[in-house]
C-alpha cells in the first residue's frame, strides 16, 4: 500500500538515483515539477504538480527496476499485473523487476476514470508505446557500447547481447550515471506478438498474495499517525431537511471530538472509531428531519417512466425505413434499479496540513475527484492531492467519490489531523448511485427467408453517468451543506443506449431513447445501459427465433456476417454443446459494438414441485483480441457472469415513500454460494489484434441467456428483471 514516507523516499531515490531513463511526453516541464519535490521530506508538505506536466509512463532506474506509471486504478480487475506485463514484455525484463505506481494526482498523469473496460485499450497502449520507445533508445545506446548495429542485438532479461561479438551489456549499465529523458514519438517499433514471452500468459497477481497474507492493502487498512474517525449522519431520504439535533447528548459521548452540522450535512468526529459509531447511533434517534415522500413508488415506476419520459430522440436509424406497424412481434422488457453492492463500504481519509489537502480515496478517477473537491471547497486544484488506494470492488460509480468529498470537507475543519471517513453498510446501500431502471420496448418483423427485416427499439432510462467530473453538486456533501451546490445533470450520455443497436444484419433498424428523471439517484454501474439493452435485445432475438421456428443459435448466425462474432458463437457450441436438453439459453454481444465479443450459454434446471429453478452452469467464449493475461480474462469473465446472474435472478432496489428500504443484505440479497452456478470460460486469443478490455463483456449476455434458458425450461418468457421463480407460470409446465 502507499503511504507518505514510501512516496517521498521513492521520489528522493529517483532524484538522487545513480541514473535513470524516463519515457513520457513533454518531459522537461515534468522534470521541472519533480525537482520542486526535492528538499521536501513529507508528502503533505510538497507542492502538487499540475497534471499536465506529470506525464511519464515508465521509468527505468539504474538499480534495474522498471516503474510503470498509470493514472488508472486497481479495482480488483488485475490491471496492475496486466500493465506491468505489457511493459516488461516490450523491454524484455523479468516481471520481478517491474513495479507500478497507480492513480495519484501527485505522481501519475490524468487518465480520467478507470471505467468502460478501457484501461488496457488506453493506458496499456500508452505504456506499450513508451516501453517500445525505451527499448529503442536503450538498444541505440547498447549498439554504440558494443560497437555494432541495432539489428545485431537481442535482449533477454534486461541483458543486451550482440550476435556478432557475443558481448553483452545490461540495461542497468546503460542507464548508470546518466539522467535520460526521452519523449514518446510513437514511431518506435513494437515487438512481434509471435516473440511474446509474457503477454498472453497467466502471470499471477502479486497483490493477491498481499491480500491473503493480511498485509495492509486497502484504504480501509490505512492508519495514519493521529488519525481521527468520522461517521456521517445521512438524511432519511434524498431531500430531507434537518430540523433539529440534540448536540448536548452527543457531546457527552466519551471520545467525541466534534459534531459538525453544516446545513443537512451532519458528521461526528471521535478519537476512536467505536466512539464515532456509538455517537452516530444516538444521532440517528435524536435528529429530526423534515422529509418529503418520494413521488414515484415501485408499483407505478415503469408506468411513470413511460408517461413522463422525454420525447424519443433517434439514436440510430439505418437501412430502409422501419414500418409503423405490421411487426411480427412486440415485447416490453423492464429492469429495476440495481446496486453496485460493494462488500466494503466506502472509505476515505482527508488531511489538511501546511496549506495542502491530501485525500486518499478508492475513487475511479483521482483527477476528476480533485477537480470536484476544488469546486466543493472553492480551493485551487494545486492545493489538493488525491491519492488512489484500492478499496473493495466498486463495479462503477459507487460511494467512493462521495466519501472522498466527506473526508475533504471534514479535514478542512481539523487542521493537521488525518480524518478517516468510513461509511456504514446502510450508507452504502441507501446512498450509492444505482444502475438506472430501464424500460425497453422492442418490435421486430420477420420477412422473407425467415430473416428479420425490421427492428425497432425504444429505450427509456435515467442517466448512467452522474460522476462528479468537477461539479460539487454531484457529491452528497456538496448537496447537503448549508450553501448547497446544485446537481447539474451532465446530460444523458451514451451510457443509456450502449449496445442497443443490434450487431445483426437487419435491413432496417431504428433505435430511439427517451430520458427519464427517476426517483432514485443513478449513475454508472458496470456496463451501464448495455446490461438492460442486451437483456432486451438478446431475449427478443430468442423470441423471434422461436416465432420463426428456428434454432436460436442458428437464427443468430444467419443474421451475422462479422467473422469474429460468428466464431465466438460456433466455439461456444463446440465447447458447451447445444440442443441437448431442456433448459438451455444462449446470448451473444460485442461489448459497445466495438470491444470484446462474448457468447454465453446458460443452463437451468427446474423443480416443479418446489416452484423454483436453479442456474446450474454458465459457459462463455470470449474474444478480447490480443490476450494480455489469460487468467485475468478468465477471472473477470467468470466473475462478470456470476455477478450478472446475481443481478438477473435476485436484485432490485426496494423503496417506498420514506426512501430506500434495501438497507441491508437481507433486504437486498445477492447471490451466495448455494446458488452460484458452475462457470467455464474459453478464450479465443488473437495475438495480431489490438487487446480489448474484458471486464464488462459478460453482463448483458448473461442476463439474456438466463431468461432464454428459463423460457426453454418452462415456456414462460420473463421480461421483467429480476427473474424470480414467482414470475414463472408453473401450471404451464407439462
Amino acid at each position: 500500500m502507499k503511504d507518505q514516507s514510501h512516496f517521498s523516499s521513492d521520489r528522493r531515490s529517483f532524484l538522487k538515483s545513480s541514473g535513470h531513463l524516463v519515457i513520457g511526453f513533454q518531459l522537461f516541464p515534468a522534470l521541472a515539477a519533480i525537482t520542486g519535490f526535492e528538499d521536501k521530506s513529507a508528502c503533505e508538505t510538497q507542492p502538487v504538480a499540475d497534471g499536465q506536466t506529470i506525464d511519464a509512463w515508465i521509468r527505468f532506474d539504474a538499480d534495474g527496476k522498471l516503474s510503470v506509471i498509470t493514472g488508472k486504478m486497481e479495482l480488483g480487475q488485475g490491471i496492475r499485473t496486466a500493465l506491468m506485463q505489457m511493459a516488461a514484455e516490450e523491454l524484455d525484463v523479468p516481471m520481478n523487476r517491474v513495479k507500478i505506481i497507480i492513480a495519484d494526482t501527485g505522481q501519475t498523469q490524468d487518465e480520467r476514470y478507470t471505467a468502460g473496460s478501457g484501461s488496457i485499450e488506453g493506458s496499456g497502449r500508452a505504456i506499450r508505446n513508451a516501453a517500445a520507445e525505451a527499448r529503442q533508445y536503450l538498444l541505440n545506446l547498447a549498439a554504440e557500447k558494443l560497437q555494432t548495429d541495432v539489428a545485431n542485438l537481442s535482449v533477454k532479461e534486461g541483458v543486451v547481447m550482440s550476435s556478432k561479438s557475443k558481448n553483452t551489456v545490461t540495461y542497468q549499465e546503460l542507464v548508470a550515471g546518466k539522467r535520460l529523458e526521452v519523449e514518446v514519438t510513437g514511431k518506435a517499433p513494437l515487438k512481434e506478438p509471435a516473440s511474446y514471452r509474457l503477454v498472453g500468459k497467466a502471470i499471477p497477481r502479486d497483490d493477491i498474495a498481499q491480500m491473503a497474507a493480511a498485509e495492509a492493502y486497502y484504504i480501509q487498512d490505512m492508519r495514519l499517525p493521529g488519525m481521527v474517525h468520522a461517521r456521517i449522519l445521512r438524511p432519511p431520504v434524498y431531500d430531507s431537511k434537518l430540523v433539529s439535533i440534540q448536540k448536548e447528548q452527543i457531546a457527552k459521548v466519551p471520545g467525541v471530538l466534534k459534531l459538525v452540522v453544516n446545513g443537512n450535512f451532519v458528521a461526528v468526529i471521535a478519537d476512536k472509531e467505536y466512539a464515532a459509531v456509538k455517537a452516530l447511533e444516538i444521532l440517528k434517534t435524536n435528529a429530526k428531519w423534515d422529509s418529503k415522500p418520494l413521488a414515484v413508488l415501485p408499483q407505478n415506476l415503469y408506468n411513470n417512466m413511460l408517461e413522463t419520459a422525454s420525447a424519443p430522440k433517434v439514436v440510430e436509424e439505418s437501412g430502409g425505413s422501419v414500418p409503423a406497424k405490421d411487426f411480427t412481434h412486440e415485447a416490453v422488457y423492464k429492469k429495476p434499479y440495481q446496486m453496485h453492492g460493494s462488500i466494503g463500504p466506502s472509505c476515505a481519509i482527508g488531511l489538511w496540513k501546511n496549506d495542502l489537502l491530501t485525500v486518499w480515496s478508492h475513487s475511479q478517477g483521482v483527477y476528476p475527484l480533485r477537480k470536484t473537491i476544488s469546486d466543493l471547497l472553492q480551493m485551487p486544484e494545486n492545493k489538493i492531492r488525491v491519492i488512489g488506494v484500492p478499496g473493495a470492488g466498486c463495479y462503477g460509480h459507487n460511494g467512493a467519490d462521495d466519501a472522498g468529498g466527506d473526508a475533504a470537507l471534514l479535514a478542512m475543519g481539523m487542521p493537521g489531523k488525518p480524518v478517516r471517513v468510513q461509511w456504514m453498510r446502510e450508507d452504502e446501500h441507501k446512498w450509492e448511485p444505482y444502475g438506472s431502471a430501464m424500460v425497453l420496448s422492442v418490435k421486430g418483423r420477420i420477412g422473407a427467408a425467415a430473416k428479420i427485416d425490421a427492428w425497432n427499439t425504444e429505450i427509456c432510462s435515467d442517466t448512467h453517468s452522474s460522476r462528479p467530473g468537477g461539479n460539487a453538486g454531484h457529491l452528497l456533501a456538496g448537496r447537503h451543506i448549508a450553501k448547497p451546490f446544485t446537481f447539474k445533470s451532465g446530460g444523458f450520455s451514451g451510457g443509456s443506449h450502449r449496445n442497443s443497436v443490434p450487431l445483426y444484419d437487419f435491413s432496417a433498424k431504428k433505435i430511439s431513447l427517451r430520458d427519464f428523471y427517476g426517483p432514485l439517484r443513478s449513475s454508472a454501474l458496470r456496463s451501464l445501459g448495455a446490461y438492460g439493452n442486451i437483456f432486451a435485445l438478446e431475449s427478443f432475438m430468442d423470441e423471434l427465433a422461436w416465432k420463426a421456428g428456428e434454432d436460436p443459435v442458428a437464427f443468430r448466425l444467419t443474421h451475422l456476417k462479422d467473422e469474429r462474432a460468428r466464431q465466438v458463437i460456433t466455439t461456444m457450441v463446440e465447447k458447451a454443446g447445444w440442443g441437448q436438453g431442456r433448459g438451455e439459453g444462449f446470448a451473444f454481444a460485442q461489448y459497445k459494438n466495438s470491444a470484446a465479443y462474448l457468447a454465453v450459454k446458460a443452463e437451468v434446471s427446474i423443480d416443479k414441485a418446489a416452484k423454483t429453478y436453479q442456474l446450474t452452469k454458465l459457459t462463455a467464449v470470449i474474444d478480447a483480441g490480443q490476450v494480455i493475461n489469460s487468467d485475468g480474462i478468465i477471472n473477470q469473465t467468470s466473475g462478470g457472469m456470476i455477478q450478472a446472474a446475481s443481478w438477473t435472478m435476485l436484485e432490485e432496489v426496494k423503496f417506498d415513500k420514506t426512501g430506500v428500504t434495501s438497507t441491508t443484505w437481507e433486504t437486498y440479497p445477492i447471490l451466495r454460494f448455494d446458488q452460484v452456478p458452475h462457470t467455464e470460460v474459453h478464450i479465443i486469443d488473437r495475438p495480431g489484434e489490438e487487446p480489448l478490455g474484458a471486464g464488462e463483456a459478460a453482463q448483458g449476455p448473461t442476463a439474456a441467456a438466463i431468461a432464454n434458458a428459463i423460457f426453454h425450461a418452462t415456456g414462460s418468457r420473463l421480461r421483467e428483471l429480476p427473474l424470480t421463480p414467482d414470475k414463472i407460470d408453473w401450471e404451464k409446465i407439462s
Binding site: 492493502y217 467505536y274 477471472n635 457472469m641 447471490l671
Partner: protein
C-alpha cells in the same frame, strides 16, 4: 466506561483498555492493528469480519470484545506459522482466488474452520461452509477450487 479487557489473539495475550460493548472487530482492527478481519455490514450478514473463536469461524462485528475474551481468537494475520503461510492461504494465492479480495479474509477463515473438522469436503460441503460469506466480484468458483486444493495440501503435509 472503559474496562481492561484481557484477550488472547493469535497466540498472544493482550490487555486492552476499551469499552466492553465494543465489537471485537474494532478491537482487532484498531487496538491491535490487524488487517485480516474487515468491516462489511456490522450485523453478521456478509462474513467479511470472520475470525476463529476457539478454531470455529465466527463474525467479529457484533460480539462484544469483553465477551470474546473467553475464546482464543485467531485472525488471518495469525495463520502463518514460522514465516510460512498456512496451506489455505497458499492455495488461495496459487488458485488466484480473488478479484478485489475484500472477502478473502472471510473465505479463508471459513475454509480453515471447515477443514479442521472435515479433511475431505465435497463441493456441496464447501458451498455450505462458505455460504455466510458474500463475494461481490463473483469469484466463488475459484474459491471452491482453492478450498479443495487446500484440503489436498493439508493431507500431503
Amino acid at each position: 466506561m472503559a474496562e481492561l479487557i484481557t484477550i488472547k489473539v493469535n497466540g498472544k495475550v493482550h490487555k486492552i483498555e476499551a469499552d466492553p460493548e465494543m465489537p471485537l472487530l474494532y478491537l482487532l482492527r484498531n487496538d491491535l492493528q490487524l488487517n485480516g478481519p474487515k468491516y462489511g455490514c456490522g450485523i453478521e450478514r456478509c462474513g467479511s469480519c470472520m475470525v476463529l473463536l476457539n478454531g470455529k469461524s465466527q463474525p467479529s462485528c457484533v460480539i462484544p470484545a469483553a465477551s470474546a475474551a473467553v475464546y482464543e481468537v485467531t485472525t488471518l494475520d495469525g495463520l502463518a506459522k514460522n514465516g510460512r503461510l498456512d496451506p489455505v492461504q497458499e492455495a488461495f494465492i496459487e488458485e488466484q482466488a480473488a478479484q478485489c479480495g475484500y472477502c478473502m479474509n472471510g473465505m479463508i477463515m471459513s475454509a480453515k474452520s471447515l477443514l479442521a473438522e472435515n479433511k475431505n469436503p465435497s463441493d456441496e460441503q464447501i458451498r455450505q461452509a462458505l455460504n455466510r460469506v458474500l463475494c461481490r466480484c463473483g469469484t466463488h468458483t475459484r474459491i471452491i477450487s482453492a478450498v479443495k486444493k487446500a484440503a489436498a495440501k493439508m493431507k500431503n503435509s
